[in-house]
């Protein structure tokens, strides 16, 4: 396994905070105590790696999920924000907005090996479920660029509202939703024709659009409006606006950004920016169940493969909070680079 180079020291160091599991006991005789502990901790998040884009440092932090340590730092272009895995899972695409392109990192060699065109100032993007087309929000250009990752060219551009930001795609790949921060719309785009079919007004400064795993709803967070709009994909109507209330916090400090669902669609998580909280929502009732206190200005979220952990990027405190979803508490704050922004888990 890739974690075999861990030293006894680092293993011992992370032992205290690790949610120890009882796997791999039979290996004692062969591998020694240090390796046993490494194995034991690796069990729940076996061989998982977490990638974090650092907006200020122009780097990607590589976190070993078993040890919860930064094991590598990859240099990329300027102002890396949105990150996502390629269709084959072998590469990582990184929006480097100030260089107006997408960097392609080979996960084997952990280096930037290629670049893709993106249109100006790419911030967020989403990969079509078939793995070939990448839909990129060009924040400074009122466009969504459709990038063919194999031909390495922009296939077409779709005119949207002012300051396009969030990008969500339905599980069947037929519907794309883009949000525009100043126009305050969720634009529904038919991926067959690449044309806008509907525009749904949401609250101020919409950020992220995320489809529920069943594809029936799309959730759109509004950073300044302080809400998450739940839009019925069939009718294109807002069925509910989820509001948040944290005791002791001013309303304007609650700024929803990223939204994530578990694969079964039974749990939803919303990052609340300078409220320094992640809200957990029951998608059945659309009620907030609890708030997890994390680092400062929490931007984006990623679930571990087995969905026992949630990783959050905290842009002001320069760290990643690791929430144990079984224990329901933060088990670690992990220092990464400057202004961490995007996060993704590779199983």
């Amino acid at each position: 396994m890739p974690h075999s180079r861990s030293t006894a020291g680092s293993v011992a160091g992370s032992l205290a905070r690790a949610p120890a599991a009882a796997a791999g006991r039979g290996a004692v005789a062969r591998t020694g105590l240090g390796a046993l502990l490494a194995l034991a901790m690796a069990a729940p998040a076996a061989a998982e790696t977490v990638y974090v884009s650092n907006e200020k440092d122009n780097t990607i932090s590589v976190i070993d999920a078993a040890k919860l340590e930064v094991v590598n730092t990859i240099k990329v272009g300027r102002r890396p924000r949105g990150i996502t895995l390629s269709g084959d899972g072998k590469s990582l695409y990184v929006c480097v907005g100030d260089d107006n392109r997408i960097d392609v990192i080979d996960l084997q060699s952990q280096q930037v090996v290629d670049r893709l065109p993106s249109g100006p100032d790419p911030e967020l993007f989403v990969l079509h479920p078939e793995g070939r087309l990448l839909y990129v929000a060009n924040e400074d250009d009122n466009m969504v660029s459709v990038v063919d990752t194999q031909a390495k060219r922009i296939v077409t551009e779709i005119q949207v509202g002012v300051e396009p930001e969030g990008m969500g795609i339905s599980p069947d790949g037929k519907v794309l939703v883009n949000t525009s921060e100043t126009t305050n719309m969720a634009h529904f785009i038919d991926t067959a024709s690449n044309e806008i079919t509907d525009n749904v007004l949401v609250d101020s400064r919409p950020r992220v659009a995320r489809f529920t795993p069943d594809g029936r709803h799309v959730w759109v967070s509004a950073e300044i409006g302080g809400t998450v709009s739940v839009i019925d994909v069939a009718t294109r109507q807002i069925t509910k606006k989820i509001e948040f209330e944290v005791r002791g916090l001013r309303r304007e400090a609650i700024q929803p950004v990223d939204v994530r669902f578990t694969k079964d669609g039974k749990r939803a998580f919303v990052a609340l920016g300078p409220a320094n909280r992640v809200a957990e929502i029951d998608p059945a009732t659309l009620e907030v169940k609890k708030y997890h206190l994390v680092g400062q200005r929490v931007w984006n979220l990623a679930l571990s493969g087995d969905e026992t952990r949630l990783y959050t990027t905290n842009g002001v405190s320069n760290d990643v909070s690791v929430i144990d979803l079984e224990k329901d508490r933060v088990i670690k704050s992990l220092g990464v680079g400057g202004a961490p922004w995007g996060v993704i888990v590779k199983s």
């Binding site: 400074d140 509202g161 002012v162 300051e163 100043t182 038919d190 079919t197 007004l201």
Partner: protein, 413 residues
Amino acid sequence: MSGRGRVLGILALGLLLALPAQGQQGAGAGAGGTQSSAAGDAQTIRVGYLATREEPRVPLSFLNPEIEDDGVQGARLGIADNASTGRFLKQRFELVEVVVPPGTSPADGLRQLAQEGVRLVVSDLRRDALLEVAGLPEAREITLFNARAKDDDLRNAECRPNVLHTVPSRRMLADALGQYLVWKKWTDWRLIVGPAPGDQLFAEAVRRSAKRFGARIVQDDPWTFEIGNRRVDTGHVTVQSAIPTATQGRDYQILVVADEEDGFGEYLPYRTWLPRPVAGTQGLVPTAWSRVHEQWGATQLQSRFERQAGRWMTERDYAVWMAVRAVGEAATRTRSADPAQLAAFIRSPDFGLAAFKGQALTFREWDGQLRQPVLVTAPRMLVSVSPQDGFLHQTSTLDTLGDDRPESGCRNR
């Protein structure tokens, strides 16, 4: 467009048909529009822009341009931004620009706007002109957005029920600077005050901030030196010898200058008798907007503005832009073109303006001032944004800047 798109269109049309009176506000509303062709399928929201033609201010530094279209470019961008949402909601935004020539009263400009049926007007006027137009009988039905005059009396004794303020007051600016200096523990200030009326008022606001936040004004002097024309061969020799003399005196930690006309303040940095930094109207400047600001998505507004205007966005442009955007936001949220309904919504607790300051901005109900974070800027870099951590407030920390409810002298609303 798909079937759903058409449904949306028909719905908007239905709304319009249901509210025919709202499209016909005021006398000339129907005829006044220049492009009333495709009428019937869209709401039209008209926003007035009222200014007087002035000679551009000549900045002391040659690096700063003389700007001929200060303010109005913010209005044009605001309309364009409003239209970006409007085109999806079948709302059309129209800017009615009235720039009054010299020798003509701004009151005539307002009357013209009123005659054309405009009920929401951005005032890019100075204090006296604003008070004059706000008091006109024709202005009674009009909501004026003050985007220019920073005078504190407009938010207190001279406040008017039909005026909202998007530009921060001098007290808000002074408090923003004061909080930062106190956070920095630079609490011994030396004040140098220029001769212009605005300089006196800014100095007054600085003295008030010192008292509020626990700083000391160790010396408080008027500026009495004659500096003369900015373009003089070997002029630096005079300045180099004059400024140290002018700034001798007691020790202090930072020199705060009040020079709104940009007549001499730029000469102070690096020339003071003691090696001390300069803040106020020059040096470290509190302002609603600056090119150095690119946080909270401001990059996009800066570059949008530069593409349109071919120059940097000023504080005045920004205050005008905010006023026009406030109207757009209200039209978006209410789906209405009725000026009275828009004005009521803007004043309601449901209103919030996204203006690239990291939080929703709202109007204070006691004086009509837009609450807003204030940038603390050096000439080439953003230094901070106030309110500062540690300056607390029971409802909104933004109300630690300027006149809070209990302090307000506005009894007119």
